[in-house]
């Protein structure tokens, strides 16, 4: 099949089509990943999409759509799980000129590739959702933001947009912008700052972006997966959307699942699915990371018992986030992995706020010390103090998320910490497991 190979050359894991991509324990899946992946021929891909998913309803009243989205209870799929209907309504009713709608595919989380996979597999769902959101908000500008450096994906998306324009599908022209490949570039104020011509760094604003965002206009920033769900809700309704998932967290979610053998796949699962059904948690698994680098580690027991929902994961010190689930194999040092990730997170700080700029490197240096098998007891007290000092004191949630990740590591790898204090490390393997890309080093890395 040509499409998965094309995806592979763009640096993405292959997204198997059909039932293999879905979680078998819930009927009605896959939804976003149903149908063949969009192939290299844009016209054929558009035709496949329209045949498979159907056209959008002709006369779609914006208030009716908003009511449907509200009833569906769609939450943002970018990590914060903010109710999509509330954001839409806020931008719709905001004064200050015609709105700007942004499909956020920045995906700064290194362990996540579900947004890229979705844009590859089903770009037309995302683009449908973008047009729907634009119409609902009275927007005159539509932008898709991508993770910088993924050339193949940009071409693929622009080809899809071109095919839609030729078919007269889109009321609004869509621009494609590439964001710098920073962890924080997808944060909504950073994204808006970049669109306004500045660096992609978070800002401290008097007003939220849905009141005053890009160019001072109300701006809707929605994850690409959220928009894809929106496109399906417009076709099938709220009741259909709620048919899978839990009542508090309805619908399906795309997950990037990394097994203990290092293989990564993107799967679509209903919220509330047991983590053990998505990831094989056997004796070869030491711990499971849920929610990405701002999420938290779970013990194998927790991973087997808990479900993929914020109701289960938040009390356990993790969260659903952008759907990252990674199994750490036994034989890899969990502390060393955590230290490497936190070092990356510290270097990816925008360097604007004193507590983050000072606290995260301090935490990273302390973790690096703990990761070495050498007695260093004092570090734990320092780590706890610094974790308390940085939470909630930045312009964005970077310090808070990092602290959540660190706290979970101190809890789940407590035995490893004790071993290191005694001069031993239980790990066998030397190579790094979790993906840690090159971090920012200069001003130009943020522009």
């Amino acid at each position: 099949m040509s499409a998965p190979n094309a995806a592979a050359t763009a640096g993405l894991p292959a997204v198997p089509a059909g039932p293999a991509a879905a979680c078998r324990t819930a009927a009605g899946l896959p939804r976003l990943l149903a149908g063949p992946p969009a192939g290299p021929d844009p016209q054929a891909a558009l035709a496949d999409h329209l045949n498979g998913q159907g056209h959008l309803p002709r006369r779609l009243d914006s208030s009716a759509l908003l009511a449907e989205v509200t009833a569906a209870g769609l939450a943002g799929r970018g990590g914060a799980a903010f109710p999509a209907a509330r954001k839409l309504a806020a931008v719709r009713s905001a004064a200050g000129g015609p709105a700007v709608v942004v499909a956020n595919g920045a995906e700064g989380e290194p362990a996540s590739c579900k947004d890229a996979a979705l844009l590859w597999h089903a770009p037309h769902l995302v683009l449908d959702g973008l047009q729907l959101a634009a119409a609902a908000c009275g927007a005159d500008t539509a932008v898709v933001c991508l993770h910088g450096g993924r050339q193949g994906l940009r071409w693929h998306l622009e080809a899809a947009i071109g095919a839609r324009r030729a078919a007269g599908l889109d009321a609004l022209a869509v621009q494609v912008r590439e964001l710098p490949p920073r962890f924080l570039a997808g944060e909504e104020t950073a994204l808006v700052g970049y669109l306004d011509g500045g660096a992609a760094v978070p800002a401290f604003k008097q007003h939220r972006v849905f009141e005053r965002g890009a160019g001072g206009r109300p701006t809707l920033v929605q994850n690409v997966e959220t928009l894809a769900h929106l496109a399906l809700i417009a076709r099938h309704g709220a009741a259909w959307f709620r048919a899978v998932g839990t009542s508090a967290e309805p619908g399906s979610v795309l997950c990037t699942v990394t097994g203990a053998d290092g293989s990564t796949r993107v799967a679509e699962a209903a919220l509330g699915t047991g983590i053990g059904e998505l990831l094989s948690v056997d004796d070869s698994v030491q711990a499971v990371l849920a929610g990405g680098y701002h999420g938290g580690w779970l013990t194998p027991g927790q991973a087997r018992a808990l479900r993929l929902s914020n109701a289960d994961l938040k009390p356990a010190g993790a969260f659903v986030g952008a759907g990252v689930l990674a199994a750490l194999p036994a034989g890899v040092c969990g502390l060393a992995e955590t230290a490497a990730v936190v070092r990356y997170l510290a270097l990816e700080s925008a360097g604007q706020c004193g507590p983050c700029l000072n606290g995260l490197p301090s935490i990273a240096a302390a973790l690096a010390t703990l990761a070495r098998p050498r007695p260093a007891r004092a570090e734990l007290a320092n780590l706890r103090r610094w974790s308390g000092l940085v939470t909630g004191r930045g312009a964005c949630h970077h310090p808070d998320g990092t602290v959540r990740f660190v706290s979970s590591a101190l809890r789940v790898f407590a035995a490893e910490i004790a071993a290191h204090a005694g001069g031993r490390c239980t790990a066998r393997a030397g190579a790094a497991f979790l993906p840690v890309p090159a971090a920012a080093a200069a001003e130009s890395d943020w522009r």
Binding site: Q352, G354, N358, A364, A365
Partner: protein
């Protein structure tokens, strides 16, 4: 020759001018100390900012007296307009003109500072940089619009003020050159911590 009522104004103008120059020197040096987060011995942190602001208002008062006595003085023909519109004075057109330039710049600084809560950080900061221009212009005006600072102890006073400003400005420039750019700060902070294992702190805020 004694001081008559007509020369009193002339002497007052020259004297208040000298005091204003000294005050403006102190204000500039204190402003640099605020940026560098230094406190004066015996004063709390806010003392530096407070003194900078209070002395600047005092300087404005002395400059006002200096200008008004010069205008009122019948000996030299400097009108009100010439005090604010540069290079329109028949007396010492160039040097008095520079005085007017300096006065205008100072006016902009003081007005924007009094209204800083309303005009926002960026605008206020942009205008405040003009302070570095206002001082040398004021010095040129002081040295050449009358011969006072060209000999005697006033010459030494002028040299001392210039030296203080040059040193403070050099200090400020050195700090800006040494401070890493914002995007390099996290890496620089981490490198220092990994190298020394000693706490210190990294500074935010504009260079």
């Amino acid at each position: 020759m004694g001081i008559t009522s007509s020369t009193a104004l002339w002497y007052a103008s020259r004297a208040t001018g000298v005091v204003a120059l000294v005050l403006l020197t102190a204000v500039l040096v204190l402003g640099i100390m605020v940026t560098r987060k230094r406190s004066l011995p015996g004063l709390p942190r806010f003392g530096t900012t407070g003194l900078h602001r209070n002395l600047s208002l005092l300087a404005v008062a002395f400059v006002a007296l200096h200008v008004l006595t010069a205008i009122a003085d019948p000996f030299v023909t400097i009108g009100i307009a010439a005090a604010v519109i540069p290079f329109t004075s028949p007396y010492e057109t160039l040097w008095v003109g520079l005085g007017a330039v300096s006065l205008d710049l100072m006016g902009a600084l003081v007005v924007t500072s009094l209204l800083r809560a309303r005009i926002g950080r960026r605008t206020w900061r942009a205008v405040h940089w003009l302070g570095y221009a206002a001082w040398p212009v004021a010095l040129a005006h002081s040295v050449w619009s009358s011969k006072d600072l060209q000999h005697g102890w006033l010459l030494y006073l002028g040299i001392s003020c210039a030296a203080a400003v040059v040193l403070a400005a050099a200090w400020r420039l050195a700090a800006a050159l040494v401070q890493p750019r914002r995007a390099e700060l996290p890496a620089a902070t981490l490198a220092r911590l990994e190298r020394t294992h000693r706490p210190g702190y990294a500074r935010t805020g504009a260079r």
